[in-house]
Amino acid sequence: MKSVCATFLFLGIVAFFVTCTHPHEEAPVQTPYPLVIPPFFPPMDIPATNPLTVEGVNLGRYLFWEKKLSGNNTMSCGTCHMPDHGFSDSARYSTGIFGDVGNRQAMPLINMGWSTTYFWDGRSVTLEQQVSEPITNPIEMAENWETALVELANNPIYPPLFYKAFGSTEVTKEGVVKAIASFMRTMISANSKFDKQRIGQYVFTPSEFNGYTLFLTEGGSPDQVPGGSFGADCFHCHGFGAMQFSDYLFHNNGLDASFTDLGRGAISGSIFDNGKFKTPTLRNIELTGPYMHDGRFTTLEQVIEHYNSGGVPSETIDPFMKFTTGGLQLSEQSKADLMAFLKCLTDTSFIHNPAFSDPHE
């Protein structure tokens, strides 16, 4: 027992001296990020392993716009996720560093902190997973992590930023991913006319209000659709209970009779998910064209016309589509009113927010 006691005492003395010999080398303090949840928004789940800090978000902003994360140092995340386009790509398909073209439209990065899955097929279930994929994707940024980390470590701005964010100057993949994910969680859009209307700071015009009503009304003719009320039927998938205008589920909205891109089906392995894609948010929809998972529609008018037509039948088409009953049968005025409401979801303060701009410029 004497030896046990002596060991304890020895360890205590060592600990005391170790603590006292480096009083000047204090670990950097990470400042909790003052995330403001907008009115009527639900809470945002932030992983305990990646707490939101001012320093982490700042580092993430630099990395989001960092071209050294691509194989030939020409592309950053922001190359395809352009602010003026609601942080999506203006091109139908994004082009990678070697000129390779993908087969899906880059999704807008809006209120990602509330999403439950990522990518059109939902293959990532955390923002951290999502962040890492484009960097190494051979048809996108085509970088390997070893090279990227060396390049970042050799850039004098990064080791100090990593130190502030994570307490170490070491540049790590985990740190890169966490920081970009943190930055993306702060990319919140909640200042549209719709949001202002919700808090009593804006009154819809008659046309916008009609569009809002159509948005929330069952579609189709009552003669052909039980409960049909000649509405636009948008709310089923693009509801705003979560204020995101997306149910974050997967639907086949009747684009094709057969599928060259299986969408969710390729991830779940279920034939019943073939042709289904994640419901995108409608926030900033005016800016995020081209539309659909493959960017086939260049204008919002084409999108509205697609739903108005009822879509194309297939084995997995969503029950909400009115393909058998003549579509929504919206009048020209109704289409115009719906368009007016959709434009109420535009938030220019979001896309011009200097906190999301390129810090390298």
Binding site: F8, D45, L216, G241, A242, Y248, P319
Partner: protein, 256 residues
């Protein structure tokens, strides 16, 4: 030095005693609990319903179920004298065999089960779902598309699928049906008895609740004709929503 050694020695002995005592207490606490699982299984003609099977109703319409998402609330189990709240609210996908709710229960004798189909009126309307933590089935995210912000509160259940109305054996199922029902008048309560179970030390018990999908689609000689009655979001077609809800509420049974 002797005094210090003696003090440290006593301290270590106390720590050891505390560790041993706490370990025993935890074990004793666990030993007082039994585990009870309630399992919901959809069946058609006695066979478990699966997403890749096609069923034929009495109108010769071929049906595939793709979604049976349901809220259950106020789930109690008891013995006719006392009842214990098993769960306040659960959101379950009945297809796929994973619709289970498991809780640790105090020792006791249980033979009664009751639950509500849907969300009780006091939780259904005039409640902002954003106040719930995201893990709650009543939250915006946890409700997983089962909240009607704009209208009638929560969707009590979604029954979606596809049908072939021609009755031809190999015809594709190109017609769809969607019954999304939920409103205060549609809240239904059911109660059942089952063979007495004794929830005791470290034992587990399972109560199986069957959902007769044939009864849901056909009622008591009241088949839902999917050529005309294939779609309701409650408002606009409340009569169909009420009819489907009543069929659903009557489709549950627990093997005694």
């Amino acid at each position: 030095m002797q005094v210090i050694q003696s003090t440290v020695y006593k301290f270590l002995v106390l720590v050891l005693i505390a560790i041993v005592f706490n370990s025993c207490r935890d074990q004793a606490q666990n030993a007082t609990c039994g585990q009870v699982t309630i399992k919901f299984i959809p069946v058609w003609n006695g066979q478990v319903v699966t997403i890749d099977s096609i069923y034929t109703n009495s109108l010769n319409q071929r049906i595939r179920f793709e979604n049976i998402t349901t809220y259950f609330s106020s789930i109690y189990i008891g013995n006719g004298i006392d009842s214990i709240l098993f769960s306040q609210v659960e959101l379950l996908q009945l297809l796929g065999g994973q619709a289970t709710v498991t809780k640790n229960m105090e020792p006791g004798t249980y033979s009664k089960l009751s639950f509500g189909l849907g969300i009780p009126p006091e939780l259904n309307k005039n409640v902002d779902p954003s106040v719930y933590p995201n893990a709650s089935p009543l939250s915006v995210q946890g409700s997983n598309g089962m909240f009607w912000y704009w209208n009638t509160g929560y969707i009590f259940f979604k029954l979606d699928g596809r049908a072939d109305l021609t009755g031809t054996s190999n015809a594709p199922l190109l017609n769809t049906f969607a019954f999304h029902c939920g409103d205060d008048p549609l809240y239904r309560e059911r109660a059942f008895s089952f063979a007495t179970i004794h929830s005791e030390d470290l034992t587990s018990h399972e109560i199986t609740v069957y959902v007769d999908m044939q009864l849901l689609m056909e009622g008591d000689n009241d088949p839902i004709d999917l050529s005309t009655d294939y779609f309701t979001h409650t408002t606009g077609n409340f009569a169909l929503a009420e009819r489907v809800t009543n069929h659903f509420a009557n489709a549950f049974n627990v093997v005694p």
